[in-house]
Amino acid sequence: MSTFSRSAVMRLESFPLAQETLGILSIGFLGLVGYLIFPEDLAFLTRLISITLLVLSLDLVTGYCGVATLGQAVLYGVSAYAVGNAAIAGIGDPILLLLIGLGAGILMGLVSGVLITRFRGLPQLVLSIAFGQLVTALCNKLSTLTGGSDGLAGITPAPVFGIFHFDMYSRTAFVFSLIILAIVFVSLLRFVRSPFGLLCRGIRDDDLRVQMIGATVYPRLIIMYGVSGAVAGVGGALNAITAGVVGLDSVGFERSAEVLVMLVLGGAGNLWGALFGSIIFQIFGHYVSSTNPFHWMTLVGLLLILVVVFVPRGLSHGVAVLWSRLIKREARQ
């Protein structure tokens, strides 16, 4: 970590709840800016928030534990299907639906954790891909639960707290999602600084050393996967509640690869990086891919190559380094 970011973090640490306050303020501010820029397209912003939750969940396992996975969308998509089925079965309360998504996410997280974190390196990566493809094939086959390739439609949640109806302009959906994102983000800021979160970072950097100080690695990774599943599950639930449909694309490999790209562009192992990576990538993609998806692929490819070669720790880290250089130069003058 550069001297700048270290001193900035230390300055922040000296205020109680400084990071948390900053988190709530930033998300509120970003939400306001988004509302002003895209007043006609709140459905897009709502979707963006739900994907951001998936990127945050990926950051927990990839950024903080060093797990290489290309199957994270499974946690998100299965929760979305669970919520969709619950809604169609007659459960209308959005908060209750969120809890169902949370539960389904935790369950899927624990299952994939048991499978994926057993090994490291290539076997881990391939298990994550294979598990994702297996679930995708099942979702396609079990069309009574998932609607197959047509998707699951007809999800109509009741008003939030019985007061705020989900309107056709997605205003309620947007504000609801924004509040959920703020709550999750702030809880995660605390969680990653907890002793458990710090130990996970230790596992990422040197798992042998963690074992030497008497901690077991495998169970902790599974627990972290459970937490990650909870976050992804909330994202999936939000997607099902606010969009009203769940499709096969929400479990698939493409979604998993896409969120990994977002995370790495922003900076893995840093919740702020995950947040900004997700927002920047999606807004950028919203414009470019609507004109021509192939230009979009060329640009993303080029961007990925440049990031890996020049700022391997992500854009947020690159910006921090640039900033600290700027400060030093000013101090010298």
Binding site: L115, L122, I129, A130, T136, A137, V261
Partner: protein, 288 residues
């Protein structure tokens, strides 16, 4: 009985296509320690070049294959010099993954920009396009050609890596590149040559297998996972592993498609999970 024989034959042909393409990737992953997700993109470039050579330049099939392989290697050189050299051995899997996904996206975008989004068929010569009677049913001659190509590629590679001076130098460079350097082996040249070999094999497989895996802009993305899976099931760097994994997975996939098509790729990936969980290094993987 008829069905079982048909599954066996089609599975064998499909497995051989998987083998020809993935053996190049297996060499890169096993010997050079690079998880090269862009391997399918190079196979796709080979297919495009062969299609162009035959349909627009009027070359015949055999010459078009050679031209496509050489052309793909030439196209891959700047990628090797500018990007791959950074990630040989020293990088973690995630960095390699992201860089090579980036390369794949880039190649897909450029290929579409130059050639457009349509399917590019590779016309077959008359000798390969008809059916042939193999006892229990008529099969396309081309599939037999593919199987023969697979066997030849396997034997040639085994000879190259196990029995030649180049193979010795390659294995020395991989096992301990510093020592190989001090012995006067120019490791960077060995690596570059191996990279070219891997890319060339990919391109060859892309052309020969185009009947079963048609060349189109999303080719690189569509089969990327399949090739990676074949390599890890077989064990990276092992020719025996690549053959057995290709045939096993080719059969699993074909069986699934014949008997339970509505399950999609479920059985294919079920086999993958079982094998990788039981043999994390792959069936014939080498202990590092």
């Amino acid at each position: 009985m008829q069905t079982i024989l048909s599954i066996a034959f089609d599975g064998l042909a499909y497995g051989m296509v998987l083998f020809i393409i993935s053996i190049g990737l297996s060499i890169m992953m096993g010997l050079m320690r690079v998880v090269n997700l862009a391997h399918g993109a190079f196979a796709m470039i080979g297919g495009y070049l062969a299609s162009y050579a035959m349909r627009d330049l009027g070359m015949n099939y055999a010459i078009a294959i050679i031209a496509a392989v050489i052309g793909t290697i030439i196209i891959s050189i700047p990628f090797e010099i500018l990007l791959y050299r950074r990630i040989y051995r020293k990088s973690d899997a995630l960095t390699q993954l992201l860089l090579t996904i980036g390369i794949t996206f880039f190649i897909i975008g450029i290929a579409n920009f130059i050639l457009g989004p349509t399917l590019k068929p590779i016309p077959l010569p008359a000798a390969l396009s008809g059916p042939m009677d193999i006892g229990f049913r008529m099969v396309p001659t081309h599939r037999i050609f593919v199987i023969v190509c697979g066997v030849i590629a396997a034997l040639a590679l085994w000879f190259l890596i196990d029995r030649t001076e180049f193979g010795v130098r390659l294995r020395a460079s991989v096992d301990n590149s510093d020592m190989a350097d001090s012995l006067g082996i120019r490791t960077e040249w060995i690596y570059a040559a191996t990279f070219a070999l891997a890319v060339g094999l990919g391109a060859f497989g892309g052309v020969v297998g185009a009947e079963l895996m048609p060349i189109e802009p999303f080719y690189a993305l569509r089969y990327m996972v399949t090739f990676l899976v074949v390599v890890s099931v077989g064990g990276a760097g092992s020719i025996t592993g690549a053959i057995s994994a290709s045939l096993l997975l080719g059969l699993a996939d074909t069986t699934g498609k014949y008997l339970a098509p509505e399950y999609g790729e479920f059985f294919f990936y079920l086999v993958v999970i079982l094998v990788v969980f039981l043999f994390p290094r792959g069936l014939f993987g080498r202990a590092h």
